[in-house]
């Protein structure tokens, strides 16, 4: 039970902090609506053929939603470290009987819930611009969402480790965040890229998350149909999560040896 209470403590802490910035909520809603509106009008001038059989607007909208929660997964772990270091609260958490891994994982709970709600808001707001959600396989959507969050999180935890040890200049965020925009197929299908870049795009988890999520959300694809994407995302998570948690554990040990836990 203490584990559940601890998870709740982190979630509540972040929820209360977030709610205390009332204006930021309103601005975020406006920001999403403006973004969706821009892409709606952009999509109107694009042809249908280049989007793997999808309408351009739903294609881009799902891309934005997935990219949104991928960004959260990449940054929230490092932010947990960076946000607590200047406050001095990182040290105060680590002197309690709460493991550093629990700290970093529980600190991601609220950002993930927010990111999921943002993604849902993207889609619901999209219906105002003509997006149809009549052919959704909800189970497949949830499965792809959970697996992709797990896969992205392994990179996010590596990013947090880097932040703990080297403080700034995180290559994981740059590598995966930047390349996902270029090679992941967020705004355009991979087919428009040169062949070698298409192959490089296959190494990114977002590529598979996007293919799976679009199929599950827009054309009611079955779990069986999505097995290749489920398999790749599962593999990313299965290999990446234990490795990143091990790296984080070693990073904390490193900071305890060098006395740099609170350095930033």
């Amino acid at each position: 039970m203490p584990v559940a209470w601890k998870a709740w403590a982190f979630f509540k802490r972040d929820l209360i902090t977030d709610l205390s910035y009332k204006l930021s909520f309103a601005f975020q809603v406006v920001d999403i609506l403006v973004g969706i509106g821009s892409f709606y009008f952009l999509a109107r001038i694009l042809g249908k053929a280049a989007f793997r059989g999808y309408e351009p607007f739903p294609f881009i909208l799902v891309g934005m939603a997935v990219n949104g929660y991928m960004s959260t997964s990449l940054v929230c772990f490092a932010q947990a470290i960076r946000g607590n270091q200047p406050l001095g609260t990182l040290k105060m958490v680590l002197v309690t009987p709460t493991s550093p891994i629990a700290f970093v994982l529980f600190s991601s709970l609220y950002p993930f819930v927010r990111a999921a709600l943002d993604a849902v808001f993207y889609l619901l707001a999209g219906t105002m611009f003509g997006l149809s959600l009549a052919r959704v396989n909800l189970l497949a959507v949830l499965l792809i969402f959970l697996l992709s969050v797990a896969a992205f999180s392994s990179i996010g935890i590596l990013s947090a480790t880097f932040t703990l040890v080297f403080k700034r200049g995180d290559p994981f965020l740059w590598l995966f965040g930047g390349l996902s925009w270029l090679l992941g197929g967020v705004f355009y299908p991979l087919e428009v890229l040169p062949r070698f870049l298409q192959h490089a795009g296959q190494l990114l988890p977002i590529t598979h998350a996007l293919v799976g999520m679009r199929a599950a959300l827009l054309r009611n694809a079955s779990i069986l149909e999505l097995l290749p994407q489920i398999g790749v995302l599962g593999l990313f998570a299965l290999v990446g999560l234990p490795l990143s948690l091990l790296a984080f554990h070693l990073g904390v040990r490193w900071a305890r040896i060098t006395g740099t836990l609170s350095h930033f």
């Binding site: 203490p2 209470w5 509540k12 902090t17 205390s20 040290k91 680590l94 002197v95 040896i257």
Partner: protein, 291 residues
């Protein structure tokens, strides 16, 4: 529970009360045992490999094989000039830092091998009065740290009320921490340190940057409530010799990573000479050596 000792010199060794405490100490258990503890801050191997010309020497030796025993129910003052290694020692005992060599146990638990157990019996109160979430109220901050200390929400609420009453902060608990005065922040930090009813309190300059009246109140609180009434073991880092004398049973003087003197204030004055503790302290850490 222990007897309440008035804040006077009657409890010092040499007096009857002092002799009684001396006897009690010799009969009591060891709360902190430190053996030849060392800590060296070096440029780590990761960074060394990235550097063109890695340093040949091993870095800065902050603790140079110190040994110390603190007894249960005792308040020990850790004194020393800036950079002596006081905070480093506290951070090792609170498991935030890993030592480079030697051993340290708290209530029988090794600070490296049994860090999880150590965290259950120790509370650390760092020198900065921040260390809380600024937009959360004092109560919400306390709830957060209570749950992280394995308390259930119901137990947490009960204990929070008790410790807030103890530090006389119950009125301000619904105010965001960022609106707290310096005094309230210090009280809240002390309340958090007492939340889990720890065996041992590690306090790093708990009265720093407070006005003299509040300093006096906190010292009295530490001496009369925390040590005398609640029977806690306290390791207190301070730059105030007055505070050390008022709160602590014994003092340990750390200088350049070495323990140069341990004893009661009277013993230190006797060993180092000088009119008062200030002079004795100056002699202990200065060119003039103690006997």
């Amino acid at each position: 529970m222990r007897d309440l000792f008035p804040l006077s010199h009657s409890r010092r060794p040499g007096s009857d009360a002092g002799k009684r405490r001396e006897f009690q100490r010799s009969m009591s258990k060891v709360a902190i045992a430190i053996q030849k503890l060392t800590k060296t801050f070096s440029v780590g191997k990761i960074l060394q490999t990235l550097q063109k010309n890695p340093p040949k020497k091993g870095g800065t030796e902050v603790l140079k094989g110190i040994s110390l025993e603190v007894f249960q129910g005792e308040a020990l003052g850790l004194l020393g000039p800036n950079g002596a290694g006081k905070t480093t020692l506290l951070e090792i005992l609170s498991t935030l830092l890993l030592p480079s060599g030697g051993e340290a146990t708290i209530c029988g638990y090794d600070v490296v091998r049994e860090a999880g157990q150590v965290r259950k019996v120790v509370s650390y109160c760092p020198s900065a009065s921040e260390n809380f979430y600024p937009r959360l109220t004092g109560m919400r901050n306390m709830e957060f740290f209570a749950l992280l200390n394995n308390l259930s929400p119901r137990e947490a609420r009960r204990k929070i009320q008790t410790v807030l009453d103890l530090v006389e902060l119950e009125g301000g608990s619904d105010v965001p921490f960022q609106l707290y005065s310096e005094g309230m922040k210090h009280r809240l930090a002390l309340a958090r340190a007492l939340l889990t009813d720890p065996e041992l309190l590690l306090l790093d300059e708990p009265t720093r940057s407070l006005d003299p009246v509040l300093q006096g109140e906190i010292r009295k609180f530490l001496r009369e409530r925390v040590v005398a009434k609640l029977g806690k073991t306290v390791l207190l880092v301070t730059h105030s010799l007055l505070e050390a004398e008022q709160v602590c049973d014994r003092l340990a003087i750390l200088h350049r990573g070495q323990m140069v003197r341990i004893g009661t204030p009277d013993e230190i004055k006797k060993a180092c000479g000088g009119e008062d503790l200030t002079e004795a302290f100056e002699r202990a850490v200065g060119a003039t050596s103690c006997q």
